[in-house]
Subunit: 242 residues, 2 copies
């Protein structure tokens, strides 16, 4: 039977592409984000072990053989997305350190000369009290360029741990500057399979395609199933302006 | 009057050399460690703000004018010490991320091409249950070379928040490999001014001189006064072998 390459039907391999391989990954790996740069795909993922929650990096050209590059963000750090282009010679990544002292789960931005070492950390966006993103936020899909700048689809949770998706727009040349942020979610758990499951009332994306002015979003629902939704860019633009 | 340049008597300037200057430092800066590399002194320090506890970097050649380089370790991270030599072309630093999920306050090591961006994080040493360093540890003075490798004087605290100093020896060429660690403290709060004060039963060092096989340790006592102690290297060697 011919493969259907439509981005909706999938042949699922018998074995995972990557599995926990060292002490930093002892309790598992999860939430990969994939950034294509030149001919290489860089996969950053959350690694969990008794030593803490870190973000690690792997790379591949063919999704058959993978090279591991170790821990790129020390504990506790999740929700890392690497921008697919250098800006002023540097790579940029959004990341989400956890600050227990001040109960912060905010999004920061860092830069790197080589994708392995990250610094010049800047606080980018915080929680909004009383809002759908009041207790935690984190980058979702890898940011992509639209005319106005970098568009990022992020997740946020409220005090009931209800996870929705929102949009934020960064300056194209200065990605540490926010141009607009959606007041309301652009996508929220509504369908039965998004409301009920292992962890209900959750939509959480680690990747999307942007084609023909359409966001084609892959997301986990209720920590149980993987879903697909299409959202016109015009709807996201409207949410950013509202 | 001539200045006495003996490392024990000090003329204290009327104004601090560095004070809190931006949003990451809103609640203050503290615990500087200074590493001299070529003709420049690199000062990393803890910055505290509502966005979290970070480590920032500044540099100076004359201790009159200072240049700030921003946040080099994202929240929460303290007790960073930068090794004074490149090894295999890379800089190395010990750091102490805080992992609330697993209640970890362990020492990690990272590398950097430029002192600004840090990665390839590796877990270096952990807490020892039932020991003087059972609840938190962190690098103290900048590591220095002895014949056997890099010697680091670190601090540890027990369940009563009693802070002592210990010694750890790293491989000279592979500083991520530990060769020896002192079972007992090499220095503990004993004097009246170390036991009573703002935060009693604390000795905490951010710097020392190593001259003539003698460790000349500058340290804070009881979070109240700054003190000086001399400890022969032979005593530290004995502690590492015990």
């Amino acid at each position: 039977m011919d493969r259907i390459l439509d981005g909706v039907h999938f042949d699922i391999d018998d074995r995972p592409a990557l599995t926990a391989a060292d002490g930093y990954e002892a309790f598992g790996i999860e939430d990969p984000r994939i950034t294509g740069i030149d001919d290489t795909y860089y996969i950053n993922y959350v690694a969990v072990a008794a030593s803490g929650v870190t973000t690690c990096l792997a790379s591949t050209r063919d999704f058959k053989s993978f090279r591991r590059h170790g821990v790129i963000f020390h504990p506790e750090n999740k929700d890392v997305v690497i921008l697919p282009q250098r800006i002023g010679g540097q790579y940029y990544a959004l990341h989400r350190p956890h600050s227990p002292l001040f109960r912060k789960n905010d999004i920061w931005i860092a830069e790197s000369p080589d994708l392995l070492c990250w610094g010049r950390h800047r606080h980018l966006m915080g929680l909004r009290d009383g809002s759908w993103d009041e207790t935690r936020i984190g980058a979702g899909a890898v940011p992509f360029r639209i005319d106005e700048g970098w568009l990022e689809i992020y997740h946020g949770a409220d005090r009931n741990s209800r996870y929705c998706l929102g949009a934020v727009l960064f300056d194209g040349e200065k990605p540490w500057e926010i141009l607009a942020r959606s007041k309301r979610p652009i996508f929220e758990p509504q369908a039965e399979y998004e409301r009920a499951g292992f962890f209900g009332h959750v939509v959480f994306s680690c990747g999307l395609l942007f084609e023909d002015d359409m966001l084609k979003i892959y997301y986990g629902a209720a920590d149980t199933v993987t879903c697909y939704a299409e959202l016109p860019l015009s709807d996201v633009r409207a949410a950013l302006k509202a």
